[in-house]
Structures are given as C-alpha cells and as structure tokens.
Symmetry: C2
Subunit: 383 residues, 2 copies
C-alpha cells in the first residue's frame, strides 16, 4: 500500500513511518520540519539527539532495506500538496502534520492563531486534495482524547445516541476541549465529518491518549533512528517530566492535586493502531472514530508509580505539588470507551515498571542535555 | 453605550448600526468593505443601489443627528483591531464581520479556506482583543440556525441536557452543519465557549434564522440609507429569489421538493434583538445562546406564499422545481426553540402578505438592475 505519513518527522510520525515501512508498505514522509524550528524558538530540545530527516531516512534504508522516502513541504501549501498527491497517488494519508501542543497554543494570541490556522486550514487542504486527486484514499487523522474534556457521563467512541423529548438522534459526541490546540481537533472532526457526507470521503479519526515510550522495534535497530523525547513544559507530557525529574534527582512536580484522569498509550501501540487502521479502511462516506488508548491513570498515580520505580533503582525522588497553569477539573468522572482497539485485536503494551525503568535509564545516558529550567515553563491559561 | 458594529457595511450590520445609533448608543462601524469587492468577483449586485459607506454615514448624521462613525479595516489585522479597542473602549462588540454565504464557501477550495480563515481566525482575534483591552466588553456574535442542521430531535437554545447510562451532563448542543461556512460558526462557538470558561468573557451567541425584509424604520428615513438586497444564487436567500422572480415575471424556482424547514426573522427584528442583547449583557464567563428567529416555514410554503401575493398584484408566477445544488434533507423533523426572544419581550414582525407585496413593489422600481443569470448560479455541493 502507498501511504503518506504527513508529520513523519515528529514524535509519533517518525516511528509510524518506520513501522509501516517495515510492514511492507511504500511510505512517503511529508513534513515541513517546523517542529525542529520550534525547538529553536522555545530554546528547548529533545532528551535524545535526533538525526536530520535526510540522514535518518538513509540509515533506515540501509538497516532495513524497506521502502521509505520523504518530501519536505507544508500541507498548507496546496500546490505542494497537489504535487504530492499527483506524484504518489496514496491509498492512505496518515495526518500528523499539526501543531500538537496545548501549552504552545496558549502562549500568546499569535501562537493560538498559528495553531488554528496551521491545523484547521491544513486539514481542509488535505480533505480537498483527497477529493480532487485521490477520492478513494483513506484519511487517517490524529485527534486527541483531550477533545472530550471531562464530561460527567461516559465518553463513547466519537458518537453519542441521544434521546430527547421522546425522539432520538445519533450525534458527533459533544466535546468540551480545554485549549486552543484541542479545539482545532474538534474543528477538524466537524470538517471531516461534513466532507464524508457530501463527497463520500473515507476517514478514520483517532482520538489518541497521551503517548509515552522511548523505543519501537524499528527505532531500536540503530542509534541513528532514535525518536525524540520532549520533557519541557510546552511539548513534554506529565509522565515524561516525572521520568526526567526522577532520572536527574529532582522532585516530581504534580500540577495541583493530580486528580486529572487521562487515557495513555505506548508509542509501540500507536504505530500498530495506524497499521490496523490502514489495513481496515473506513467505508466511503464514513468517518469512523476510534478512542486510541489502552489504559487510564490519574496524574498523581503516574507520579507515585514513577517515584516507586525510581526508588527501586536507588533514586529517591519526592513528589510535590505545584500550582496548575491550566484551567481543568482536578477531580472528575472518567470512563472512556475504547472497544474498537480490542475489536481489531490489539494486544496492548502496558505501562509496566520495566517500561518506566528503561526510560529512566535511557534518560540518564543523556542527562547532560537536559535544560532543567524548561521543565516547568508552561504558560498560564488564565493570562 | 459605546458599541462597535463589525461588518457594519453589510446587509444586517448597516441597519443594526443605524438602529443602535437611533437608540442613543455611540456606534462605530468597523468594516473592511470586502462584501463590495465580492460583488465584483461574482459579477453580482444588490437590487437596490447602495451608497458608499462614507456617504451613507454622512447622510445618517445629517438626517438623524445621532452618533455614528466608521473605521475601515480588517478584524484579521490585529494591529488595526488593537487600535480600535484602544481608541474606542467599547462596552459591546457586535460581530457580523464574517463571510456569510454558504454557497460562497462551497465554490472552490480557495473559497472554503478563505471563509474558514476569515471567520475563525477573525473571531479568535476579537476574543483576544476583548481579553487584552476590554475584558468587560460584551461580545455579541452572530451565528446561524443553519449550524444545527436537521436533527431528528428538538433544537434547543445552544445547550442540551443529556442523560446517558444513568449520568447527566449539559453540553453545547451537538451540531451538524452542512457547509464550510456554517462550520465556521460552529468552530467560533466552541472557541468562544472556551474563552468564556478560562477568561470570564461575556458572550451572546445569536443563532439567527434566515433574514428577510427591505426596510427598517431607520433606512426608510432617506433613500441614501437604503439597505442592500441580494438575490443571486450565492448571497441571495430562497425568499429573496422568489420575490425577485415574481417581480420580473419569471417562474419561482424551488430547490428539489422544497420540504426543507427553516426559521425566519425580519430585519427589523434582527436589529431589535441586537439592541435587546446589548441592554441585557451576558454575565462574565457566560456564553448565552439565543435562537434568533420568529417563525418557521418550509421552502415550498414560502414559494406558494409569494406566488399567491404576486397573483393578487396581477402577476402570474408559476412555481417550478429545479435540482437542489446543496446536500440537505428535503423532508425532516424541525422543532426549534426560541424562548429567549419572548423572555426579552420581542413583539415580532411577521412575514405578512403586505411585507411580501411591499418587497415586490420595491424590487419592481429597480428591475432593470437585476442580472437574471445570477438567480440560479449556486455551486454544486458535490463537486
């Protein structure tokens, strides 16, 4: 299968491209490399040094012998996108090419406008390019579990059957996202849902949980294939921060009480889910929604888990609490469904002590690269 | 009260600015005049000749002696918007400054992208400007009844209480809009709802029905104050088209069977609703939603109504049916609530035979201006 991985130079995109390539697909990475530029803007970095895209694609070709190429450009440039579609005629388009940090979108007006422009208009271009050049191409679009917010009812997979005054309707699940970034994913879903209806677009909308994990089977093959690992207050996740803090002997800092519950998924399962979605394309006119996570934890549970594993390794991190820069409920009902993944037969990798211990060890090898003042530099949502 | 009317050169904005000015408010029109440029792009026009903004503002000042000024610029230009807020320190910001035609948004990819960029990012700028420069300013935002689509349950006012698996939540009403334009209004509502939560923004989101009517009390005062009237397949409504077709002796053309039901409102009530919203500001942190229409009709009912009135005037229009260029349900459940308007005590102007007859007469005075090939030039949603 010919598959485009847009955003294929990023944290999820890179290992996805390798996995799909290894599975025998003919993979083309499309990326504007802006994530590397943003590292410069934020004076942040990845814990692990990552190779230039050209170099790591070359390494993969040498190591694996599998098909992988790349094109540098922006999905917001429709001439470029048209060229990609006309040249490669993809069967599937995996769309990671979005600004993916909630804190980044909350830094300033410019960052909010950039995020909404890049994500919403970029996806609109992708929808039009599929319609114009490859109407049978399956759009595999990355959303986020964060789109749902913290409703007081069960979180279903994308749709909700509502009975009201004796009549019934099946709606897109009503979402209450809590950042200008998460809002873009909701806007995208509405746009895609409409395109499926009017043009018969095939789409899979993957509402992904928080992704963690250092290696996949493919990135393990050569140090030059290492994936990025973010730990700063803008692009890093809470779990990454806790692992880094434990590894360098700092206190583990929890936002507020840490009662916020979230769905999680290992990067090895992220890439397998994309493979499963590609092998099971949505029907024409269908926007299929999958909640792509395998386990749930509260932030405090994560902190305590990391602290316990670190202790077993001879480290002694304390867990402390810092003011929450975000506006979010600290304690809330959380019961999210993820039945599609089981239906596809995904045998999940879980957040075991070994996974945490390996992550701490790997980070320790690169601890000199860590810029500690970046650990808690999230913008305040209220400003 | 100091009130900005953004989009104040348009069909709803112009009479709103005059009405608020007449009510004693200090009104500043903000407009980039793009609607006049689009007339050029589409080779379309208003049935009634409209004066340049500078001229008609001058006429109003002479005729009424009331406060009204204008500033030409774009809400997507944040420097300009910041200047507006810093200079005028508004108590209310009436936001009509959006591309408002569903067919226009469906002409091509460029038109879809322009519409989403202009509307969503423009509104994001407005939200930020209020937060930065006038946090107590009341945002009065125009939405559309078309955002709801045609759900099989009652359409409530903006929110829906859902009970699911024994638990309950109050959500933004889940919407299924059927154009890239209507989608922008849904995106806006989500963005505004979030800003209300995190920053305490005061907002009123007015989901307006189809607006009709030629004059308001204010535009009647001088022919130089005449409002625009669109009849083309892009910016004209079905009702306007029927009136023009009857006036010039053509057949009244209904899209499909004409079973589509919609909410309607007279332009005289549109302007009064804005006045009522301004006098009853939303609370800090509240996004209040009002369904702003006064009556409902199916498209076929409208056609038959216009045909009957025209017959009484000695005209003899036939009603015929043409293929529907839109993707929409031709027959559907429709029961939309509009209780807020009654709570505010709005005594509605209805679509009487006299209103239709006056419209036909007024159009007949200007029938030489009508470009008949523009009447049915809507793009096909499926292309």
């Amino acid at each position: 299968m010919k598959i485009i991985v847009a955003g294929g130079d990023g944290f999820c995109g890179w290992p996805t491209a390798l996995y799909l390539s290894k599975q025998g697909h003919d993979v083309v990475i499309v990326d504007n490399l802006v994530r590397r530029v943003i590292d410069g803007e934020l004076k942040a970095n990845s814990v692990f040094p990552i190779q230039e895209l050209s170099e790591r694609v070359h390494i993969w070709q040498q190591v694996s012998g599998c098909g992988l190429s790349y094109e540098v450009g922006d999905v917001n440039d429709y001439d470029f996108l048209a060229h990609i579609f006309q040249t490669h005629r993809p069967h599937a388009f995996v769309h990671y090419a979005e600004q993916r940090s909630a804190p980044y979108s909350m830094i300033s007006r410019k960052h909010a406008v950039y995020t909404q422009k890049n994500n919403v208009l970029g996806t609109l271009n992708v929808i039009y390019a599929i319609h114009e050049f490859a109407p049978d191409c399956h759009l595999i679009k990355l959303g986020s579990m964060g789109e749902y917010g913290s409703p007081n009812i069960d979180i279903e997979e994308g749709y909700l059957n509502v009975t009201h005054n004796g009549r019934s309707e099946r709606f897109l699940y009503p979402k209450t996202p809590m950042s200008f970034y998460h809002l873009t994913k909701v806007h995208d879903s509405h746009n895609i849902h409409f395109a499926a209806k009017i043009w018969g677009l095939r789409a899979t909308d993957l509402n992904q949980g928080v992704v963690y994990g250092i290696h996949t089977d493919e990135t393990r093959l050569d140090r030059g294939l290492l994936n990025r690992l973010d730990y700063d207050g803008i692009y890093g996740t809470a779990l990454n921060r806790f692992i880094i803090q434990a590894a360098i002997g700092e206190s583990i800092s929890v936002y507020g009480k840490g009662g916020q519950s979230r769905g999680f998924i290992h990067i090895m399962d992220t890439v397998r889910c994309i493979g499963l979605a590609a092998e099971h394309p949505a029907e024409p006119g269908e926007m299929r929604v999958v909640n792509q996570f395998t386990e749930s934890f509260s932030v405090l549970e994560l902190a305590e888990k990391v602290a316990r594993v670190a202790e077993g390794m001879g480290l002694s991190p304390k867990v402390n609490h810092v003011p929450n820069p975000r506006v979010e409920k600290e304690a809330h009902y959380f019961n999210a469904k993820n039945t599609q993944l089981s239906d596809w037969g995904l045998d999940a990798h879980l957040l075991t002590d070994d996974v945490i211990a390996e992550a701490i060890e790997e980070v320790q090898h690169y601890k000199d690269r860590i810029i500690t003042e970046q650990l808690l530099n999230s913008p305040d949502w209220r400003k």
